[in-house]
């Protein structure tokens, strides 16, 4: 079975957040899955795993609200990386 890049990112995020059942749309802030420290851990994970640069200005509620929004954000960054080569 071939899975999309977004699905692959979300699977890795579930692994990182230690919740394999985590729904794509759950609000990670409201559900308290992320606090100030675990958010930075997640940022470090994204940078190392996907070789992207995450700037403070990008760490917003809009980008990090759910697995879906994070996957969208990572996809955008990966596209930027490809287009800059």
């Amino acid at each position: 079975m071939v899975i999309s890049r977004s699905e692959s990112i979300k699977m890795q995020l579930r692994e990182q957040l230690s919740d394999k059942e985590l729904d794509d749309t759950v609000d990670l802030f409201e559900s308290q899955m992320l606090d100030s420290l675990s958010l930075i851990e997640l940022v470090t994970f994204l940078e190392e795993k996907f070789a992207i640069e995450v700037f403070i200005e990008d760490i917003t509620k809009e980008n990090f609200r759910s697995l879906n929004t994070i996957a969208d954000y990572v996809n955008t960054k990966l596209e930027e990386n490809i287009s800059s080569i």
Partner: protein, 502 residues
Amino acid sequence: MPMETITMDLLLQKQAENFSDRQFLFFQATGEVFTYQEFNDMSINVANLLLEMGVTKGDKVGVLLPNSIEFLAAYFGAIRAGAVVVPLNPSLKDLEIINILLHSNAKVLISNLPVLNGIRRMDQSSSELKHLLRADQLRDGIKRNHTMSTKAPEIMPEDPALILYTSGTTGDPKGVVLTHWNLISNATDIATALNLGSDRIMCILPLHHTNGQIINVLSPLISGGSVVLCDAYNALSLPTFWESIEKYEVNVIDMVPTVLTMLLRLRSKRKTSLDSLKYIICGAAPLTLELQKQFEERFNCLVIQEYGLTEGTCVSTINSLSNNKRGSIGLPLKSNRIKIANDQGVEVNVGEIGEILIRGDNVMKGYFKRPDLTNQIIINGWLHTGDLGKTDQDGYVYILGRKKDIIIKGGENIYPIDLENVIGGHPSVSECVVVGIPDEIYGENVKAYIVLKEGQVNVTPKNILSFCKGKLPLFWCPAIIEIVKFIPRTASGKVIKRALNP
């Protein structure tokens, strides 16, 4: 008025007279600003509300709130009413909260609605809890101008003002009782050592923690400074950290080493002006020289290390702008004496390692309802910290390790016994030992060794972790769980922790 006769209620009144319209409190989340006068009025309003509810001198008032205006209103209001505040960590689970409420004989709990619904389910027969006050009920009267009720009791400096629970939330609660004079004396010494004056301090630490209350709020209140209060539980507080310094022209920030590590990891597209920032205070966990150096070089900002423990109110030793000896935890505060002692309590020579003992106005009154534990830790007036250290020729103190069983993760004290009690309650677990392991980000992290009951072959570390997550604050849950065949013990049954392989 001599400082030794002052109490928290008089302090608030005096500072309102001294600084009246000067801005004291900025709340980042809402943009609200309170002057010294308004802050004093706010505490009077809440004190009157509590007195009207029947709160009398010495009654315990639980405050279970995140960093907020309501927390400070409840805290100072209750203290003004002569009550003893019991701050609770909002990330605790219902059972732990109930344990503390029961042990402290709390008569009132001030919190927000979702938590209160959980508390309502507690067994009323063993509880003295009479009133549940919602945070928004405090809000109603926060900006009304009031004079202090005639029901207000006379308060003495040696009267208890706070009980801070440091451990034992799962079975054996340990509440540190601090008096009005403990708080004022320690906060005054900190302000003096740092030459705080009218400086603006940004509070990013949780207010249920002694560092949040004393260094971040009480010291600037005493020195005529101001506070920018941030929501410590807001996940986005770190990414907006540098922006807030610029916006509020912050001079001082108090943080823990983990936050320094985190900030070093973040990168920004634009340069933020840090011109207003004079220095960063760092404590609650050991700060490595390498981390201090990296942070100072990258952000061109001095890091000043302090040391203390809740039993000593907050701070006992601190460096200063003029005398910042890197690698040391600084000099004793003005009202403190420090002694490095051997196992017999005899002072050792300069440079020799021993236990750090503290004596002074900041030493707690004792553990609530536990004179046995108090007598074990305060001996002949000296507080035995359980930390190992040494001094140099100039009197600077260096911390070198710990004698007592405690894990300091990101500045938060985690007592293995609390976790062992919970994990030991898992139906498949026969034995459990929890230890601290080195961690690049948090300084230390939690590892649990588990022996399963016979026949429990299908239980995995993940099962145990899920169990922990349901019963413990997420931050306390083990980073690693290892299932072992046996726990190494001495002949007397004591666990040989060094024989466990981290």
